[in-house]
């Protein structure tokens, strides 16, 4: 498979400069269709699984909690399938009706006749070659409101399973491939190191020799980096942030070393640019709460994909009660000097 991909890429590199722009884009599309598209779903699934594993690791679930979550997730899965099944039936009928209509239009085209004026204008759009077939299915969707209510009910049952601190972790969780330090490796008791990257950059910029225009350039570069994570800002927003940062750096430089050490975390927090994605997330979660819709707990823990992951975890915990994960078990066994890891501790 990799050799096929390399061959295709080489061919593309050789042929591409000789082709006109239109053909080039078609070739690109073909390449995406052939190589990427079939594996896109696979990648998405993998992404979701890694993210769910990160959440499971951060929640420190007990065996009893896992059993309860799997039961509820299973119920949610069955319910989802039931609703999707209903939807499929309804959609199939609508799709058939759509196909019949298209067949009629095809006949007109074959015979070179005009389409009767009585045909609704919207129907003509389906003849466009790039129109997504998903749009064609215009059946009445299954009763989503009822589905959401059912999911909400299951989510409220999860409230009895989880402790408030776990709910807090779920609320703060953002799907990720690499878990944030505070989830995977929280600051430990008596640990001097800080995980705050904001205070680290403030220290660096305070100690740098950048002044005036050069400082502004350095800050602009930092803002560009921040925008990659937090969404882009408008020109006036950007200027406001840069002005605030310049003042902050001047404030930090005016402090004594000791004062700066004590105040840097607080100062850095005040300088944090607004996170647009987070703001949007908050608006969405507020909407979810006001409309009593299923929230993040349902999104993650009632996800059908979590069922096999939790089952694996439970199996591992039952196999070796002293270890939470496979790696813990392997490492504990390989470093056990007196064989006590297999004894009753």
């Amino acid at each position: 498979m990799p050799s096929k991909i390399i061959c295709l890429m080489l061919m593309f590199a050789v042929i591409a400069p000789c082709l006109p722009a239109d053909e080039l884009s078609q070739l690109q599309e073909a390449w995406v269709d052939k190589i990427i598209a079939p594996r896109h779903g696979e990648m998405q699934k993998m992404h979701e699984e890694i993210s769910l594993y990160n959440l499971i690791n951060g929640l420190h679930l007990t065996k009893q909690q896992i059993v309860a979550i799997v039961t509820l997730a299973q119920q949610a899965k069955e319910m989802r399938e039931r609703y999707l099944g209903k939807g499929n039936d309804a959609n199939a009928a609508a799709l058939q009706q759509e196909l019949n209509e298209m067949e009629r239009l095809k006949q007109f085209a074959e015979q070179g006749k005009n389409v009767p004026a009585s045909t609704p204008k919207g129907k003509r759009h389906h003849l466009r070659p790039n129109k997504s077939p998903k749009r064609a299915a215009v059946a009445a969707p299954p009763n989503m409101q009822h589905y959401q209510q059912e999911l909400k009910r299951l989510e409220s049952e999860l409230d009895y399973v989880l402790i408030p601190a776990q709910k807090q972790v779920i609320e703060d969780f953002k799907p990720c491939l690499i878990p944030p330090k505070n989830l995977k490796n929280p600051v430990r008791i008596g640990q001097a190191k800080s995980n705050s990257h904001l205070s680290q950059w403030l220290t660096r910029i305070r100690n740098s020799k950048h002044e005036g225009y050069s400082l502004r350039l350095a800050l602009q570069h930092l803002l560009k980096q921040a925008e990659k994570h937090q969404g882009s800002y408008k020109a006036d927003e950007r200027e406001t942030i840069l002005d605030k940062w310049e003042k902050g750096v001047a404030q930090a430089r005016a402090m004594s070393d000791a004062e700066f050490e004590i105040s840097k975390e607080e100062l850095a927090q005040n300088l944090e640019p607004p996170d647009k994605k987070e703001k949007l997330q908050k608006i969405i979660s507020n909407e979810i709460k006001t409309h009593n819709l299923p929230g993040k707990t349902a999104q993650f823990l009632l996800n059908p994909q979590i069922i096999p992951l939790l089952r694996d975890r439970l199996y591992l915990m039952l196999q070796n009660p002293n270890c939470n994960t496979q790696s813990e078990r392997w490492q504990a066994e390989s470093h056990c000097e007196d064989g006590s890891c297999t004894e009753e501790r």
Partner: protein, 397 residues
């Protein structure tokens, strides 16, 4: 080679007539003499500590003995380092300068930061409040798993430090409204003199002082330290001489146990932490013995924290402690009669919370160092009214 050899007019008093070589030689000679005067005066007790500090001289160690041949013997911790002039103590902060033992940690911290008090960990002392954490370079322990080894295993002069004296500390605490100073991250035993000075300056303003220590200290300085502190968290690293010898730099366990008893008798608030390291001190028999000793010698109301180990420093080859191991340790401690047993470095977990030992009511709910809710009313359980041991005033609700 003598300078006179190059000096055409040796008796001339005019500077401009001196050759460069002679000028530099005289400058070095007189300069050295001038610089040693304050140290000599200080050693002879002719100038005060304050004047000495103002001149940038290190502070003289309080508990040590002068031996013949300008040797010194430190009596701060049980290591009792005997040093010749110019030699550094085990803790890397004390140095014998010409027969006088000085501490280079005085007014010279390498860590200054604000932290939640739960990070110490102190779960029964003004929960939800902030501390100003202070640490200097150096430590009298050599733990192979030290998570602050960059600071603890370096002398202060090799670290970036921030001059911070008692007066500045007072000003900062009042300006930032910090209720408590915490001496943590490296063992406060090695900056004992600095702590005393900070307490002297800030206690009249109502600032409280807490520390996290291995309690590897001699009785006299420990009693003085206790007089200066309001609360202490002692890390009881293991419960076998072998563990202390093998993992903590060949230190004995006995002085630590003696210190724990001394601290308890002194009346300050005490909490104990035990870091559970897989395959080294996670033997449940040993944990049972430790809990039994705690109940017999310190009482059942001393909070005990079982902390989860994470691979650090020279023990990176080990895995993190499995949570079931910590849960089992907690069960044993509770079965032995310890009323407040916590799990640290695991969050979220019910082991982070405080429950009433009488009615099992949830009193304080935590997510790591964060307090989610505090239901206590004036140090009592709101349901059954039982008094919960600890210092609860100024606590955020």
């Amino acid at each position: 080679m003598s300078a006179e050899k190059y000096d055409a007019t040796p008796t001339t008093p005019v500077l401009s007539d001196l050759s460069r070589r002679v000028f530099l030689e005289r400058l070095a000679r007189y300069g050295t003499a001038f610089a040693t005067v304050p140290a000599a005066m200080h050693a002879l007790g002719m100038i005060s500590e304050e004047a000495c500090a103002a001149m940038g001289l290190p502070k003289e160690v309080e508990f040590y003995e002068k031996l013949p041949n300008r040797k010194t013997k430190c009596h701060t911790c049980p290591t009792e380092c005997e040093r010749e002039p110019g030699k550094e103590s085990e803790c890397r902060t004390h140095n014998n300068k010409n027969g006088v033992l000085y501490t280079y940690a005085f007014n010279n911290p390498c860590i200054l930061k604000t932290d939640p008090i739960e990070k110490l960990p102190q779960y029964h002392f003004m929960p939800g409040t902030t501390t100003l954490s202070i640490a200097t370079g150096g430590c009298n322990m050599r733990c192979l798993y030290c998570q602050n080894w960059e600071q603890s295993q370096s002398p202060p002069e090799k670290l970036k430090t921030f001059p911070f004296d008692g007066a500045q500390a007072k000003e900062m605490a009042l300006h930032k409204k910090i209720p408590t100073f915490a001496y943590t991250y490296t063992d406060p035993v090695v900056f004992f003199e600095y702590i005393k000075d900070l307490v002297k300056h800030t206690r009249p303003s109502g600032i409280r002082h807490v520390a996290a220590s291995a309690a590897f200290m001699q009785e006299k300085p420990l009693l003085q330290l206790c007089q200066n502190l309001d609360s202490i968290t002692v890390t009881l690293k293991g419960f076998s001489e072998e563990f202390y010898r093998k993992i903590c730099g060949d230190r004995p366990l006995k002085p630590v146990l003696e210190s724990l008893v001394t601290i308890k008798k002194s009346g300050i608030w005490l909490e104990i932490v035990n870091l559970v390291i897989p395959s080294y001190n996670d033997n449940m028999k040993n944990i049972k013995e430790m809990c039994k000793w705690i109940v017999q010698n310190l009482g059942s109301e001393v909070p005990l924290h079982f902390a989860r180990f994470s691979p650090e420093y020279k023990m990176k080859n080990l895995p993190s402690t499995p949570i079931p191991t910590l849960e089992k340790a907690k069960e044993i401690a509770q079965a032995m009669g310890i009323k407040f047993v916590y799990l640290s470095n695991v969050a979220p977990h019910i082991g982070n919370n405080t429950y009433c030992p009488s009615c099992k009511n949830l009193l304080i709910e935590r997510l790591a160092f964060q307090i989610l809710q505090n239901r206590m009313t004036q140090g009592r359980c709101p349901r059954c009214g039982s008094k919960i041991p600890g210092i609860w005033d100024n606590a955020k609700k």
